[in-house]
C-alpha cells in the first residue's frame, strides 16, 4: 500500500468516528505516541488505553479530520489537522479542541509513531 493510500484510509475512518478501528488495524505493535507535553506512550495496547482514558471523562460528539498532508523531505510521514467536538464532564461546556498529528509509517504499512501538537491541555 502506498503512504497516500494508507493516509487517506486513516482520514476516512477517523471522519467516520472509527478511531479505535484505526488504532487496532493500522498501529504497529510497538507504536510510540507523543502527547502535546512530550510524554511518550509505547505499545499498541497502552496507546489504545490512553485514548479510552482520554474519553472517559468527556462526551465525544465527533471530530473532523483535514488532510492528509505531505512533505517530500519526510516521505514516511503524513500530517492531519483535527477538530474535536467534546464536552468535558468537569465543566459540562461543549468545546472544540484543535490539534495537528504527525504520523510516521513503516514499510509494512504500520503507523510507528504519532506526535500531537496542540495548545494547552487536551
Amino acid at each position: 500500500m502506498s503512504l497516500d493510500t494508507l493516509a487517506r484510509r486513516f482520514v476516512e475512518l477517523c471522519n467516520q468516528g472509527k478511531n479505535f478501528d484505526v488504532m487496532r488495524t493500522m498501529y504497529a505493535p510497538d507504536i510510540i505516541s507523543v502527547e502535546g507535553d512530550g510524554k511518550e506512550t509505547a505499545g499498541q495496547g497502552p496507546v489504545i488505553k490512553k485514548s479510552e482514558d482520554w474519553g472517559a471523562d468527556k462526551t465525544f460528539h465527533g471530530e473532523t479530520v483535514r488532510g492528509p498532508f505531505y512533505n517530500g523531505a519526510t516521505p514516511d510521514q503524513f500530517v492531519v489537522y483535527f477538530t474535536l467536538d467534546v464536552t468535558p464532564r468537569a465543566t459540562g461546556r461543549r468545546i472544540t479542541l484543535e490539534e495537528v498529528g504527525v504520523y510516521t509509517v513503516n514499510k509494512n504499512d504500520q503507523i510507528t509513531r504519532e506526535q500531537f501538537f496542540y495548545d494547552g491541555e487536551h
Copy 2:
C-alpha cells in the same frame, strides 16, 4: 521572547495578511524553507522571493491561520494550520488551499526553518 510569544505574534500577523512583515522581521538570514515536494530554499531573500513568485500568478484573497500548536518533545517548534483563499490566474476559479507549517525557532527568536505539508500542487 518565549516561543509562545513569538508564535502568537506570527499567527496574529498572518491573520492580518502581513505575511511579508513576518518574513522580513522574524526569519533568520539563513532560514531554510521546505516546500511540499521537499525542495529547499535557503536564505531570507530567496525565501521572500519564492513567496512573491508564488503570488504572481494568482489573486490572493486572504488566509486563516489556526494555532500555534506545540509538542514538548520538540520545544523549539510551533505548528500552524493554514487555509489560503486564492484564485489562480490559469483557471480563474477561486479555491481554498490547506497546509500545515512546522516552524523551528532559534535562541535569538528567529525562525530558522519552515516545512510545509500539503496535498498536491500549491
